[in-house]
Assembly symmetry: C2
DNA sequence: CAGTGGTCTAGACCACCTA
DNA sequence: AGGTGGTCTAGACCACTGC
């Protein structure tokens, strides 16, 4: 791909960007905003070495002119990169490529996304459904999900693999009353987001994740193997829909001897 | 404080906000941007119940008009609140107060800030310095801090309290060569950010935090007490300065039986 | 269909850093 | 002193939601 980065010529808009900002048909393809396109372009330039690690990137004004978008749009894209720790911005100085960008495995705002977590560690993720069962809710679950005594749950147990290694044992419980499709039709290998969309007709609005330490239990040991009785991480997730309605609980036993949970954070 | 929220009258700018946006003397006080002032005002209204949990907040245009700032500025403030999970925004609908806001103990981008973590759990934090010593770097530390064999470190050990309960045992190691003030003058009860500023003349640029599980060791048990041999969280922090220079390592033994590490995350 | 949040623009002034 | 990122404005059009 040829990019015109020089400053002299007036020939802008030569990059692959800005080709589909036309307002119609935006929802056909993956609805890319201009800022997102800029973000992806810059990400690609960082990854392929056009912008070297530790080096200073072009200024906001330069990028704005080169790409033919407003500076505000450039800033939106840069803000996203900075939030993920990929670049460092210094007022009065410039924007630098963070040489440690690859050291983190997780991005903020994606702690619940186990697939991305595994990818961030450099493995190929896959999901193996273990069981889907219907059972009464425990007292704790009744409280956490705002249910009535006697209400039932769907318990979806799954095993996440990093390459061929089992790394996360996940148990999601969802009120049975929310189910909108036959229980048997559920495809347990889907992303939890898609499961909620397809079978529950619900959109997840936000999540609260508790990170705890625990000792590997008997059940988890069967699937995760390794040294018995060792310490593991437990990600306790609560998923909520609109109006703060509790949708589901997730209990994820996380083998942190294989998988790292690490985050880059810009200093405020 | 009297706030004019009504829509009929043209009397805006009645709130305490927008009183110090005058451009000079901004650096004397805590340099508050207009967006930050809006952010704080909205936060206060959420906290004091002016905006009830779960209810819909005024629209961006209404806030913009009421406060006499541009919609973009309002959006900046709202974005910050949304990032911290305090509000939920729905296109075509409105902005809602997240009733679960208080459920999280940590804010994104502040995982390294142990003081804030303790505050987020509803305790009063305090720091007790244990020891400051100078010693040779281990092989691992030489690698992680980009040192030469034989280089020395400063090891700063501290104990963090939540009210009267010891909850975090922290060990920070910093290359001795970075020290710019007498070793004896270091005040170990300061925030790590201030320690770097005062005694090392360095500004921390970003941090990478690894979250791991571990078994409570003998040394940590002495300080944290509780059940021996139980699982704890370990926050392994690497601090970096400008130019990706490694500044320090932190090893924080985190008693998650007292302190919760929980995060709110908006669904993307 | 009216109103909401989401996106984008063009221009301005500022604080800050480095030379 | 010149350039950088940080902030703010006023206006515009869009996609989406709920009535």
């Amino acid at each position: 791909m040829k990019l015109i980065v020089g400053k002299g010529t007036k020939s802008k808009r030569q990059t692959t960007i800005i080709l589909q900002i036309g307002k119609p048909f935006m929802n056909l393809v993956q609805a890319k905003t201009v800022a997102n396109q800029v973000d992806e372009l810059l990400l690609e330039r960082i990854r392929d070495g056009s912008y070297l690690p530790g080096s200073r990137m072009p200024s906001e004004s330069e990028l704005s002119e080169e790409l033919g978008v407003s500076r505000a749009t450039v800033r939106t894209a840069l803000a996203k990169l900075a939030a993920n720790g990929l670049i460092l911005r210094k007022q009065g100085d410039g924007t630098y490529v963070n040489a440690r960008a690859g050291d983190a495995s997780a991005r903020f705002g994606n702690l619940w996304d186990l697939v991305e977590l595994i990818e961030g560690n450099g493995f190929t993720p896959s999901i193996q459904p273990l069981s889907i069962e219907r059972r009464p809710a425990s007292e704790k679950e009744i409280f956490a999900l705002a249910l009535e005594p006697g209400d039932e749950l769907i318990s979806l147990r799954r095993l996440f693999f990093a390459d061929q290694q089992a790394v996360i044992l996940a148990d999601n419980v969802i009120p049975f009353s929310l189910l909108r499709e036959p229980l048997e039709s559920i495809d347990g290998s889907l992303h939890i987001r898609d499961i909620f969309q397809k079978y529950f007709h619900q959109k997840i609005s936000f999540a609260i994740t508790d990170i705890r330490s625990a000792v590997l239990g008997v059940e988890a040991y069967k699937h995760l193997g390794g040294e018995a009785g060792r310490a593991i991480l437990q990600l306790q997730v609560s998923l909520f829909g609109k109006n703060n309605l509790p949708l589901a609980l997730g209990l994820n036993d996380f083998d942190d001897s294989t998988l790292r949970l690490s985050l880059v954070q810009a200093w405020s």
